[in-house]
Amino acid sequence: MQATNILILILGLGAFAFFLGRGRSLALAKPLGGIRKLHSLPSYYGLHAAMWCSLPPLFLLAMWMMFDDPLINSIVVESVADEIAPTDAASYNLLLNKISNLADGILPRKGESAVLIAAADHMEALRVISRWSLTALMLTLSGLGLLWGWSRISASFRARPVVEKVMQNILLACACLAIFTTVGIVLSVLFESIQFFRSVPIFDFVFGLEWSPQTAIREDQVGSSGSFGAVPLFVGTLLVSAVAMVVAVPVGLMSAIYLAEYASKSVRTYAKPALEILAGIPTVVYGFFAALTVAPFLRDLGASFGLSVSSESALAAGGVMGVMIIPFISSLADDVITAVPQSMRDGSLAMGATHSETVRRVIIPAALPGIVGGVMLAISRAIGETMIVVMAAGMAAKLTANPLESVTTVTVQIVTLLTGDQEFDSPKTLAAFALGLMLFTVTLLLNIFALHIVKKYREQYD
């Protein structure tokens, strides 16, 4: 049976066990004088039975799925080792793929050697055995669990703490899964980066001033020496982010001040969600808005002043990105400004300060750490933003601080390095991992810094 079918079956059995357990506890309670005579509520007995019925088989399923493929593979390859012994990892994988495809009927069997066909049949047979034994085992386990859970039910059995404990462990497992996934991603990026740094020295990468990741496919090719200096990319990223922040910080902050301090309740109820819609627009929409509307407009505007603005400019990309980021800043700043205690405002107003003096001299300073935290989060968002810059910032890795020119960013280069046909172990591809790692490090540091500031802020009024 297919794994998904088994899964559904087991969950169904679990539900069945729940009703069975609950029913039995209710039946037990009746002669005793109501469910108050039971230690736990009937649903706890039901849950207890359901857990025994479905969790062990599910655990078995997970283990089985992890180990049965490698096991079958090694058995099959072992059996053909006499005829075709794989010499290295690559040919081993190739052989396995071939056998597996033959077994699944993806490759036509005609014309293949008898050894391979035999191996494929062998594999197929092993897989069938594995599947059926898994099904049988799971159903047995499930049935045994159901029986055990059902037999445990009695008026004095403490089902509630058991269920509570199991629930807690399930939650823990989910949390661990999320953390391990993150760690896994970081580690894989890290390993690939280390591989990259074997061919390109880390110093050249971090401090190099030139970025042209063209590596030779053949030894004698012209222009084959790729250079992987990441500085122009990070400068481009910084430039675009800086433009974005120049747009987003003042506008976001001032709209937050207006919403928190001046707007009437009815304006607030409509204006705040309207601002937050900006955050809900897909970035690709911002991207073509930047590329097709803003960039040509800026170019024409520049031309009328006698400035040459490139048709893909840091200004266009950064400006549009800034608009996208406004709601981040405004909604975070709005929260911290409204969190400033009313007594602070009263104190200032009672001194004869005007409303705007109160905002400038008391409220903003009091809320500043929180605002800075919000700005930090927005910056890491800007640095990681991809779609807008891919569409509007350009591809040329130029080392410039002029926002009217076209620049490229780290994220754009990662995209271009990895799209299209690539060799997966060339420095060109691996460079993407190194860039990713650096980007990740930078945003992580920014986030830690931001969290630190936000935390410090929290302590202030408690």
């Binding site: 205690p341 007594s343 602070m344 405002r345 009263d346 104190g347 200032s348 107003l349 009672a350 001194m351 004869g352 300060a353 005007t354 003096e357 001299r361 008391v362 300073p365 009091a366 202030q460």
Partner: protein
């Protein structure tokens, strides 16, 4: 009058008095008894009504506050003392639903006339709140706040002098002169409250309103602030709300008793606490309710 009712239950001996208090319907009450008008009035209030939406919190209050006097406001919780106090420097403006009717004047100038500059008014009528609320700035900046926004000091030296004088008057200078540039929020509760008083007097107001300034303080800090109020009364006019009748008796020249939004009695403090004119005042100060 549920408080009276519970008092009645607890103490049957006082039953008759409580009955008498109960039978006295406050809404029948016409005028404030006692000496609510003064010859040398700093502030005058005539027929003041204050509403929160349609709920009336102050009913027809007329009273004068004389120059350089300390007037204490007492009364059961929720009777409108804070509301009354806040209408004297128009802090009620910050509450959207609040509406003030009647006439409130300072030195003959109508505080609620459209021509009046609220900012200037609040510089002339300072306020100290129940909970100390120093700004999250340094001690120096807290005191310098008012002088800076009102342009009272032309030079840094002038400003230093104002800060020092205010802190001295508030009795805080000796304690903080070594750490003027540390955060004002780092002081103890009593010190913070004196810092707020220093902040209020730094702009040399004519009147200082205090809303239960000692309710968050221990007896020692309270004693210091009471001493301070006595000193301040030489130069300032002070209106103070308090829940402590001992405090009212110690610091004030006149005492006003509020009950359910009405001003029941205003008299020299000594008289209020020895032979009150009104039954409700007597019931309150002898602890029969409130």
């Amino acid at each position: 009058m549920t408080q009276a009712a519970t008092a009645e239950k607890k103490n049957p001996a006082k039953k008759t008095v409580a009955k008498a208090v109960n039978s006295l319907d406050v809404s029948d009450h016409q005028a404030t008894v006692g000496k609510n008008f003064a010859d040398n009035a700093k502030m005058t209030m005539r027929n003041v009504n204050v509403f929160y939406d349609d709920k009336q919190a102050i009913h027809d209050v007329s009273v004068d506050i004389a120059k350089n006097e300390v007037i204490a406001m007492i009364g059961p919780s929720g009777c409108g003392k804070s509301t009354f106090l806040r209408s004297l420097n128009r802090m009620n403006d910050t509450v959207d639903i609040c509406r003030v009717e009647g006439q409130i004047c300072m030195d003959g100038e109508d505080l609620y006339s459209p021509k009046l500059d609220v900012v200037e008014l609040r510089a002339r009528v300072g306020m100290v709140f129940q909970k100390p609320n120093p700004f999250p700035k340094s001690i120096y900046e807290n005191v310098a706040y008012g002088p800076k926004i009102h342009g009272l000091a032309d030079t840094r030296v002038d400003l230093d002098e104002i800060v020092e004088n205010s802190l001295r008057k508030a009795g805080l200078w000796e304690e903080v002169k070594e750490r003027l540039h540390q955060a004002g929020t780092g002081l103890s509760g009593g010190q913070q409250q004196r810092l707020c008083i220093a902040r209020a007097i730094a702009v040399s107001p004519e009147v200082i309103l205090m809303d239960e300034p000692c309710s968050a303080l221990d007896p020692i800090a309270t004693a210091k602030i009471e001493e301070l109020i006595e000193e301040l009364s030489q130069n300032f006019t002070i209106a103070i709300v308090t829940h402590s009748m001992q405090q009212a008796a110690r610091v004030s020249h006149r005492t006003a008793y509020f009950h359910l939004g009405r001003l029941i009695e205003v008299n020299p403090t000594e008289q209020v606490f020895t032979m009150p004119e009104h039954q409700l005042t007597e019931a309150y100060i002898t602890g029969r309710f409130g």
